[in-house]
Amino acid sequence: MKNIIVGQYIPGKSFLYKMDPRSKILALFILMVSAFVFKDITHIIYMLLGVLVILKIGGIPIMRIARGLRPIMILLLFTFTFQVLFIKTGPVILDTVLTLTTINIGIMILAIVVWYYTRRYIKSKFFYMVLVIVGILTMLSLFTPGTVISSSNLTIYEDGLLGASFIMVRLIIIVTLSTILTLTTKPTDLNLGLERILKPLNLVKINSEEIALIISIALRYIPTLLDEANKIMLAQASRGVDFTEGKFKDKVMQIISLLVPMFIISFKRSDDLANAMEARSFVPGNKRTRIHILSWQSRDTLVIVFCLLVLTATVVVRVYL
């Protein structure tokens, strides 16, 4: 649970912290657009390197980001697999027949069982799983003694592989960039910055202040709710709920015993928050003065100019190369 670091501010001193939140949000936006403009795997890998450089200069440990990426690893893996399997253009890289026979099905089951019981002793569970899957696939294509039960074709095309890697890198870049923003910006600053940036929307009757408030409250409450979930799990564990095991029917009960208090507590919290805001005379849409005044400095202009250059470069690359 503690791996989820989205929405979590970590104090620090690098230039990323000194920047104006407005320029950071704008820069994030521009860079994200650039990430979407790229169409070529080599270019987007250059961009990934660029992002790593930003991390390095900004003094954010890469491990932090990697840990934050872990929860979406499964998502990445799914996208990757589907892309690889369903894009069928370009030269063929791998063409093989996966054959299920009476003998290798046994080995496969054995491998899965061994994996299941040994995985808790392995530190990087994710790579262990990938390794086992790759191993099983290799065996199915190469080692086929015995009577054939069923067989199917596995064909991987170059475009599929490249496309899949491309989307993975793009997703990683986007998540990393947004994590940088929330890691280095205090929620209050983030709120203020968003509000200012969304100000033009007021012209079309969309209240930027409210949107900013909603976003910042949501971000603010992610860690709190995780903490609450943790406490509820402890309270239920002391009544004999074993969250680590159980049959399917027990699992449903376990989840209900976690979710119901979670909802009740969230509603209560939001009620309390609303009352607390009202008690401090918060009226939506009223004019307010600020404690923190944002100040746009030359370094912010510099960063934005740089990001715009990156964007222009990507557009040029996209159009002319």
């Binding site: 309270a235 239920q236 004999g240 015993s257």
Partner: protein, 286 residues
Amino acid sequence: MAIKFEQVSFQYPSFDGKNFSALENINLEISDKGEFITLIGETGSGKSTLVQHMNALLRPNTGSVTIYGIKIEKNTNKNKKIKLNPLRQKVGLVFQFPEYQLFEETVLKDIIFGPKNFGVKEDEAIKRAKEVIKHVGLTEDYLGRSPFNLSGGEQKRVSIAGILAMEPDILVLDEPTSGLDPKGRDALLELFTNIHKKLNKTIIIITHDMNTVYKYASRVVVMHDAKLVYDGLPNMLFMDENIEKWNLDLPDIIGITKQLEAKLDITFTKKPHNVNELFELMKGVL
């Protein structure tokens, strides 16, 4: 010994790398027969953290907690052979805030949830529920109500009933009397005393009320700044000079006695436990 803490330290992890130390080098032994322990200490001193080690909800970062012969250490959960669940039936823990555990549609279902998890048959569990709901000072009518429409104090009682119905050997209660009216508080404490006396079970109560400590406890443990600073008799605790430093105060009756002693310039032969004893002492000197 049912529970034994050996050099236990525990840190809450935090995002910025600086871990927060909530327990430092705790050594403690608790028997499951006939102890009535109160655990006191200022806010944030680590009391709740300590009791969550007693049924293996939290695992120490260093040191070990042995609960009914099962040794809990930092990496204990890696080994799935050790079943922690039965420990939680033996050591029943009532949390500080009831809203973390109530979730069923009716109070009855909520109370039988614990016992059923530990393999008690449904009708037996219902029988227990009807018993314990009376013990915690509510009537059977409450069994059909939704736990979410109850007042804070009533929720607290229901959450206590939910643990009582598990019939643990050691009953640990995190501030069971906070938010209760004086009469309800006394009734609950009488209930715990009864369980303690009749069934010879060990009761551990976290409290901020020195009168409770003085009146009910046979042993008092004081936490201060993540460390265990006192473990002994309540009588002796209130003679200790350090109680100011530990942010504790005196039970009312001892406070009155001390003032009387100062005013009348006398010293009583012993410290009274209630008004009657004080009265007897007064008669002796006047």
